[in-house]
Structures are given as C-alpha cells and as structure tokens.
C-alpha cells in the first residue's frame, strides 16, 4: 500500500478535464525496479516584504477607512490601488486623491468552485468595481444580493471591517454590497468592462 497522501492539499476539482491526474510510471522505469514516485523536499523561504512608498500611503489610508488613489502627473488619471507609477506615461504618481468608498460594477463572474480559506461560500460573485473618480477598477466580492440580480452598471458600496479589526490591509474592505442608486449606462463604462 502506498503511504497516505498527506504532503499536500489537492483542490477538490470535479471529475473530468480538471481532475488531478494519477502519477504515471513510464514502462521503461517500471520494468527495471520499483519506481521512485516521490521524494520529500521540504522548502520554505521567508521574505521581509515592504510594499514601497505609494502602496504604503494607500495601506495607511485603509486603516482609517480612506481610499487614497494617486494621480497620473500628465493626464490626470487616478490609479487605485496605487503602485507608485503611472503605467501609461512611466512617471511617478505623487499627488494623492481621496476617493469615495462607492463605485460601479464593471464586470463580474459567478464562482462555483472556491479557492482558499477566505473564499465565501459558493456560489458567490467576484467583481471588478470602478470606484467613483478612479481610472482603473479594483477586485472584490459582491454579496447581499441574489446572484440573478447582479448586472454590469449597478452601483455598489464598500462594506468595511469593524473598526477594531482595521489594519493596513486591502482586506479591510470585506466585500461590496448593492447601493440603491440608478444603474450607470454600459456605454459610460467603456474601457472598463
């Protein structure tokens, strides 16, 4: 009997195309000897990661429930989350712009197989939200709405973590929920869908 497979967690994909394949032992190897199918090589590397100047400004703002984008110095586009650079002109973004915690659903999909410990119960809606005043959309999950009612152009609002749980993390925005405002016409979302 082979040893129990407790080295790794295998994502429980449904059978078929995405199924985890069984190890295959080439005939040439199997003829010679008992094949070595696995070696155990524990590996870990620790990194002391620093996000940099602009992301630090953004993450500090999140601790206070503020969304701080940064402005392209040439064309005025506001990037959120900021990475320190305007990718369009290759120049640093230095001016911070505070954005509201609301926006418009620019794209979504319905997730039926969740990955990771933080995934909400399936099915759930993963979304790109174009925050008001921003040039690019952010990723999040959309809850508090029946899935069949989700549509591009709907207005959404951030749901923040309780004050005592706020940290310098994008996870401070727990999820997005519907906002009772008229939808934005899809043509106004051109370039973001």
């Amino acid at each position: 009997m082979p040893p129990a497979d407790n080295d790794r967690q295998v994502t429980p994909f449904p059978a078929g195309l995405w199924e985890q394949p069984q190890p295959v032992v080439p005939a040439a190897v199997a003829e010679v000897a008992e094949p070595v199918q696995r070696i155990r090589v524990p590996a870990s590397m620790l990194y002391r990661y620093t996000p940099g100047a602009a992301p630090s400004r953004f993450l500090r703002g999140l601790r206070d429930k503020r969304i701080l984008g940064e402005k392209d110095p040439v064309n005025g586009d506001v990037y959120v989350p900021p990475r320190g650079m305007s990718p369009v002109v290759g120049l640093p973004t230095t001016e911070q712009v505070e954005l509201p915690d609301r926006g418009t659903l620019a794209a979504f999909c319905i997730v039926h197989i969740g990955f990771g410990v933080n995934a909400p119960p399936t099915p759930f809606v993963s979304a790109l939200v174009l925050i008001d005043g921003a040039a690019v959309s952010v990723y999040g999950t959309l809850l508090d709405i029946p899935i069949e009612e989700v549509r591009i152009g709907m207005r959404v609002q951030a749901v923040w973590a309780p004050d005592e749980e706020l940290t310098t993390s994008f996870e401070n925005i727990r999820y997005w929920k519907p906002l009772d405002e008229p939808d934005v016409a899809p043509e106004l979302l051109k370039g973001h869908m």
């Binding site: 590397m45 002391r48 940099g52 100047a53 602009a54 990718p87 120049l91």
Partner: protein, 356 residues
Amino acid sequence: MAPQRDVAIVAFAQTDHRRAVPERNEVELIQPVIRQALDQVGATIADIGFTCSGSSDYLAGQAFSFVMTLDAVGAFPPIQESHVEMDGAWALYEAWLKIQAGHADTALVYGYSKASPGDLPRVLSRQLDPYYYGPLWPDSVALAGLQARAMIDAGLIDEAEMAAIAHRSREAARGNPHAQLRGSDPLDELLAAPYLSDPLRRHDCPPITDGGAAVVLAAGDRAREWSKRPAWIRGIDHRIDSHNLGARDLTVSPSASLAAAKAGVSEGKVDVAELHAPFTHQEKILATALGLGDSTVLNPSGGALAANPMMAAGLIRLGEVFRRIEDGEADRGVAHATSGHLLQQNFVAVLEGDPR
C-alpha cells in the same frame, strides 16, 4: 558571434547601490534609472524599438514581479517587450539579437533586484537541481568556498592574493559614487580577520545589494546621434558550463574562455575589463580565462565586490566599460557577466569606440 549591424551602447545609468532600500518597491527603485538613461539620449519610450529586462521572482518573493516593474517604462500604447529571468546582460543580448535581426533600431535594457527581502545565500541555493543539490540547501558562500579551496590546493591563488584583489577593488570604488563599499581596510587587517566560509573571509565576498541599472542600445547613425562616442559592440557571446558542480573542474572556466574567443577578446588590445566576479578568487579565474594581461585595467569601478545587485551587476559591467569609452578614458574594453553558481554561465562582450 560577429555582428551584421553596427550596434552600440549609447547611455547608461545605475542606482546608488545600498544594502537595503526598504522604502521603495522595485518599480519605484528602477524608474528613476530608466528615466535617466532615456534622458541621456533625449529619448522617450516612443523612440525605443524594443525593451528587455532582467530580474528574478525568487529575489522579489513575488510571481511575475517584472510585469509590475514595466509600469516604470510607460508601456502604452503597447510596446515590444521581453524579459529574462537572468542578469540584464542577457537581456542586452536578446535586445542586440533583435536589432541584428532588423526588428528594431533602438533598445532599452534594464536589470534590477531587491535582494534584501529574502535570505540571499539561501535564495540562490534554489538555482541548484531539485533532486541532488537543492535538497541539501548549500548556500552560495559555502559553494564559493569550495571553489576557492580548489584554487588554493591547485596552487593557482593564495589567501594573500585574494585579499589583494578585494583591497584593489574596494580602493578603486572610492572613485565610484554609486558603489556600496568604497575603500578597504589595510591588507594585514584583512588577512587577520576570521573566516566566513574557509578559505573565504568577509572581504572575499560581495556585498548584498538592492539596486539596478539601465542601458540604451542603438544601431548605426542613430547611435552616433545619441552619443558623442558610442561603444560599439564588436563581439558578443555567452556560454554555459554544466550545472553539475561535481562534473566541473572548478578552478577553470571553459565557458568564459569560449565566450571570450567567440567575442574576439584577443583580437586587439584591451584597455579596460569589467569582470563580474562576485568572489575574489573568481576574478583570477576570469582574467585567466579571458587571457587578460597586465596592460588591462581590471574593474576600475570596483566590480561586484563593491556593489553586487543581483540581475544588474553584469549589465553594470557593460555600462562601466561604455562610460569609459564614451569619456575617452579607453578605446577598447571587455565586459563580462556571470549567472548561476561558481561562474556557471558566462557572457562576454567586446566594446570599442571610434578612433579619436
């Protein structure tokens, strides 16, 4: 490989190299350098036909980290771009090929890394094969010690000569405002220091560096327009020795010798050579492999012993030779870059200025 088109280095910029730059991320680190290199020739990204970079996710601790760094270029409208998980010298090789093939007339090349977030000697051990060497986690300094020991046992170098290489390099770096280590303790103090990885002492090893560099390439008349004295790439080649350390004679570098021969190093005088030798004894291996004599000034910048930003230290060797040719300090020079453990992979380029 002999060039079909005249291609030259026409601009070079580098960071002020430091042990750690925690206040900036990689794109914030490299953007000023890219901008400086373009500014030197009065160009914008729209004037550049091809962009190629060298960096490593293992150093960044992030997948596809180079994609984020592209934000520093201003890659919109979309540009022709590529990346190598190697030193920027190999990115320069790819860019040179692109220009040789006629697909571009100009190129921007950059390389960078922040080694500070990780434990560099252990990170570098991940370059080893996954079955035999990797699981043993030999660190890069211990492996270099094996090579230095083999050199000493073969009578090819001694600890005093190694210390002299360290001393000469770091004293030379006093003239390099970008260097991380400038100046050296006296030789007798170096040799009195304890071993780090016997027979290597601290001074035999490169510093760990956060930093980067950028270079602009141009062909023909554009190169003459962009530089008062372009450093023409007369020959360029790169070769690789076995990854199996036990299968190699560690005291020599056949791949460096072959790359030097193919690049035509010996076909003229070599005023200056910038060798990417992270450890002192490796400079001796490389100078021997490249056939460099006493008339060549070795590593006037201080070399990798004065600053060793991974993925950029090789590209910087090209830039340092270019700068000396452009300034008229040298007419013909050799730049070398290495990658992998114990000089496994070697790149050699011969650069030459027009007659004065």
